[in-house]
């Protein structure tokens, strides 16, 4: 098994993601440069956070035209697990792999803080180990993280169980106060209909070491690894 961490110009969580995978979970992972055109040899791909292309024009708008994105889209359609974190989520939305968009935070300010999120479905490769609406703690850090989608798509997302994470309070309740950015329905992460593409604003890549105040991020990468392993060893 091998996991790709894509480096766009302006990615700044690429090193954190690689370390989370290799140091935190002892998983084989490698960088893939944005100018590359193939993901062959990889079993999953992470689009890390940061400010790809400075987030100029719109977050993720330029990155989605990077050469590697054609391979990401192709692999995603073939069923490869793809996870976009923060800026990676924004890129997945711009690339059309996930519905909706991430717009400016309701406060109009960048927000960096620790939040609670509830796992809404265990039916994805990233949450298979997280049954029973578990509540996780991890940081967020974004200026444009308010998830927005039109009403019809929202209904689809909810009815098809594509909302993977929701912002909640410490006890696991969805409240207005626990929504840090004004996301519709407190949505923090969603998957596609085929359930192999996940986008989320919170940072599991910053929550994998006791020293950092939370290790909950490991649960997500760990689920992914366990889902992949039987596939690879087959």
């Amino acid at each position: 098994m091998k996991i790709a961490v894509v480096q766009f110009p302006g990615s700044n969580c690429d090193q954190d993601c690689l370390r989370a995978l290799t140091d935190g979970l002892h998983l084989p992972a490698e960088y893939v440069w944005h100018k590359q055109t193939s993901l062959s040899g990889f079993d999953a791909v992470v689009l890390p956070g940061g400010f790809s292309y400075g987030d100029y024009l719109r977050c993720g708008a330029i990155a989605r035209f990077s050469p590697i994105m054609r391979a990401v889209v192709r692999s995603a359609k073939e069923g490869m697990p793809v996870i976009g974190l923060c800026n990676g989520f924004q890129i997945l939305c711009e690339a059309g792999l996930l519905p909706g968009a991430l717009i400016r935070n309701q406060s109009l300010r960048f927000v960096c803080q620790s939040i609670w999120l509830r796992v809404e479905t265990g039916d994805t490769p990233f949450t298979a180990n997280l049954q029973g609406r578990r509540v996780l703690k991890m940081p967020i850090a974004h200026g444009e993280g308010s998830y927005f989608v039109d009403e019809r798509s929202l209904e689809t997302l909810e009815s098809k169980n594509q909302v993977v994470f929701r912002y909640v309070d410490e006890t696991g309740d969805v409240t207005a106060g626990s929504n840090p950015n004004g996301s519709i329905h407190n949505i923090a992460g969603i998957c596609n209909e085929a359930r192999n593409v996940l986008g989320m604003m919170p940072h599991p890549d910053r929550a994998w070491d006791r020293k950092l105040g939370s290790e909950d991020g490991k649960l997500i990468f760990g689920s992914l690894a366990e889902t992949l392993e039987p596939v690879v060893s087959r």
Binding site: P9, G10, N12, C13, Q15, D16, R19, A20, D23, W33, G49, G50, F51, Y53, G54, D55, Y56, R109, F110, V111, C112, Q113, P139, A141, G143, H203, D205, R206, W208, D209, K211, L212, G213
Partner: protein, 741 residues
């Protein structure tokens, strides 16, 4: 067209007749217009430290662990063990931030980051020390201060967040003296192995000189000279001088330069900061004992029709000068192509010691590099002492309601929680932040080196105003105390000296007193000064800022279990005060905020007491006897106790009793005597802890116990009670409330 050098032109370049004579002596002829510009920026205060150099020599800069000394390079480097080292420095961007706060602060962040990676270090984190005029109220001045404050914070957040370097701490305070002249001091620290130290020297005659990074435009024209003048109405006319930062380019440049440095083909590297191409060419040549010859026609340019003068003096951001070893050209090209960054071979290292600048082959500048870089005039300015401030007498102070006073102090923006600010900074990127902003010192885990570092910035400008020497000493003591409270041993210091116009004898006196105070304290605490920055001419039309010699200090925490936080953790823990109860109210926040009096002598520092307290606290932490440690500073014991109750993830009450202590309750609660730390410890640690303190012969006292949901303070017959939730909201939401008004 040849511009004639007139006395007027010389004066508008900020050069005196005497300095002009010296220039002619160096050249053996009259300078041309471009050369005049070059001398003007290199001999500005910002680049040459001509008014402060003699003072800065007083700092202790050596130490066993110092690998690169202050003044040698862009930043000092200090050993942290196991062949790892840190490079760190603090720098001001006060004047640009006064004119255009967002870009001024953003480019300040970009500049200090380049200073660090120029040393070969990977930047790990940032701290900011910020000062503004008061932000409360509906006056136009307050409104403007709020604008400056929010734009500066947004600018720091814009650059730091985008480039992906966490901003994990610092300090912010508010005072009338900063009205119209905010202070923006930015600190950056990076990590490197000893063998990775890079030098800003043009080594190796015949080596290629490359320009890399953003194209040159007319932005920031002569910013260094601009930072060396008073801010006046005229300054607003100078507005086109403000540079625009591009953190995206900054990130690419950072990664490309580190990759190139790792390849081993770099002979010398220098950031183009203040005075841009001029400073980087003459300084690299001067340090290398060589010359540098470049042709401006080869410099990547963003605008057309730029003159040699404009190209040389431009302060466009995100640019570096790199000298590569012979044969390294291809490696440079490969790496900068990969990162899609402009680069150009603009010249080469020569043996004749000259900074020679051509334009399409015609010589435009020819100046002995070493003389230009090092022979700037040095002045001893006249100093005139302020009359000593009077001693505070408690008899003269009407008693105020201490219950209400504590709430008002906690809500005052200087003391209130800065969450409104640090929530806008990405403080968790790079996955190393162990103690986030809001504590005495920030703690960062350096994964590659397996080291825990603590860092803080400190300066109480009110003390410095009323006694600059004592204020400067206390800045060092407090920084060290903050580090100790987090479990760290102080290692080294960077300083940022912010003062008014040095030609005013009273201002120069403040500067000299502050430098001597800092120097003496650094020596006593065993922390060398490894670098820093001077920012003068910080005045608005009415007056100068209060003297603000900001101290940035870094320490190492030997073991993870020593990391200590400031807040109370568990019910029934015992609360100790290490150090005296104190009585000094002069220059306190209580006098300023509650009584409207910015006067009297500040508290006095005793080195013996301070060093004793710090040694005991660190020893108790290392022996595992302590659950929390918090330094008492602005607002005294009252504010510190409240912060212990409300700054943690769980609010908790405390009951504290001063028994028959003779002083007035407001004096007990709000005096700012130095050398005091509040500890909490589990009941089972009581005997061991008290034995350690007694053996060290350090003043200490059991103050009370953690518990309940109120902070209860008694002394003699008086008892005060605060609901911790009320204290929390007064403190936590204060700045948000002010900014919404």
């Amino acid at each position: 067209m040849v511009t004639e050098i007139t006395p007027d032109l010389i004066r508008t370049h900020g050069l005196t007749d005497q300095e002009y004579a010296q220039i002619k002596a160096i050249l053996g002829r009259e300078p041309n217009f471009t050369e005049l510009g070059v001398f003007s920026v290199m001999w500005s205060e910002h680049c040459s430290y001509k008014n402060t150099r003699l003072e800065l020599k007083k700092f202790p800069i050596s130490g066993q662990k110092v690998l690169v000394k202050a003044g040698e390079e862009n930043a000092g480097v200090i050993d942290v063990g196991d062949s790892w080292a840190v490079a760190f420095k603090m720098e001001s961007h006060n004047h640009p931030s006064a004119i255009e706060p967002f870009q001024g602060a953003a480019t300040g962040v970009g500049g200090i980051i380049r200073d660090i990676f120029t040393m070969g270090a990977r930047p790990l984190f940032l701290l900011d020390s910020l000062r503004f005029g008061p932000i409360q109220g509906a006056s136009p001045a307050a409104k403007n201060n709020r604008r400056l404050f929010s734009e500066v914070v947004a600018g720091i957040s814009h650059y730091g967040n985008c480039i992906g370097i966490p901003t994990i701490g610092g300090e912010i305070s508010f005072d009338e003296s900063y009205e119209g002249n905010p202070l923006v001091n930015v600190f950056c620290l990076g990590i490197l192995r000893h063998e990775q130290i890079a030098r800003g020297a043009a080594k190796g005659v015949g080596n290629s000189v490359f320009y890399v990074g953003s194209e040159t435009g007319r932005d920031g024209l002569a910013g260094a000279a601009f930072a060396s003048r008073d801010l006046t109405e005229q300054s607003k006319q100078d507005r086109p001088a403000v540079q625009v930062g591009d953190p995206f380019k900054g990130k690419l440049l950072l990664e490309a330069c580190l990759e190139l440095l790792a390849s081993g083909c770099v002979a010398g590297i220098q950031d183009m900061g203040a005075a841009g191409l001029t400073c980087s060419t003459c300084e690299t040549a001067s340090r290398g004992g060589t010359g540098v010859e470049i042709d401006l026609a080869l410099v990547p340019q963003r605008e057309t029709g730029m003159t040699p003068y404009e190209i040389l003096l431009s302060e466009s951001q995100e640019r570096m000068l790199i000298i590569v070893e012979r044969g390294g050209e291809a490696t440079l090209k490969e790496i900068f192509d990969k990162w899609d960054l402009p680069y150009a071979r603009v010249g080469e290292v020569t043996c004749d010691g000259m900074m020679r600048v051509l334009d399409h082959g015609c010589v435009k500048v020819e100046i002995p590099a070493r003389k230009l870089a090092n022979n700037a005039p040095v002045y001893e300015r006249e100093a005139l002492a302020d009359p000593q401030a009077p001693e505070f007498r408690i008899e003269d102070l009407p008693a105020a309601d201490s219950h209400e006073s504590l709430i008002r102090l906690l809500a005052y923006p200087t003391i209130a929680s800065k969450n409104w600010v640090y929530r806008q900074y990405d403080h968790t990127v790079r996955a190393g932040t162990v103690v986030p902003p809001g504590s005495d010192a920030a703690v960062f885990y350096v994964r590659e080196a397996d080291k825990f570092l603590a860092a803080t910035t400190d300066c109480n400008s009110l003390y410095c105003k009323l006694n600059p020497r004592e204020g400067a000493r206390i800045a060092v003591a407090e920084a060290a105390r903050n580090l100790i409270c987090s479990g760290a041993k102080p290692l080294a210091v960077t300083d940022n000296l912010n003062f008014g116009n040095p030609y005013q004898p009273k201002i120069f006196w403040q500067l000299r007193e502050s430098v001597e105070g800092l120097a003496e304290a650094c020596l006593r605490f065993g922390v060398p000064v490894v670098g820093g920055n001077v920012s003068l001419y910080n005045q608005n039309p009415n007056s100068a800022i209060d003297p603000t010699p900001t101290v940035g200090m870094v320490g190492v925490i030997g073991e993870e279990r020593w990391i200590t936080r400031q807040y109370f953790c568990d019910q029934s823990d015992i609360i100790y005060l290490i150090g005296p109860v104190g009585h000094e109210l002069g220059a306190s926040q209580y006098l300023k905020i509650i009584h409207g009096r910015k006067e009297f002598l500040p508290p006095r520092l005793s080195y013996d007491l301070e060093l004793g307290v710090q040694a005991v606290v660190l020893s108790l932490i290392q022996q595992g006897l302590v659950k929390s440690a918090h330094d008492c500073s602005e607002g005294g014991l009252g504010v510190a106790l409240a912060e212990c109750c409300i700054s943690g993830p769980r609010r908790v009450g405390a009951r504290v009793d001063f028994g028959n202590w003779p002083e007035r309750l407001d004096q007990i609660l709000f005096n700012e005597s130095q050398s005091r730390v509040i500890l909490s410890a589990p009941p089972e640690a009581k005997e061991a802890l008290e034995a350690v303190c007694a053996a060290a012969e350090i003043q200490f006292g059991r103050m009370g116990q953690v518990g309940g949901s109120d902070l209860i303070v008694s002394a003699r017959r008086e008892t005060l009670l605060w609901d911790v939730d009320e204290l929390y909201h007064a403190w936590y939401d204060s700045i948000e409330r002010v900014m919404r008004s």
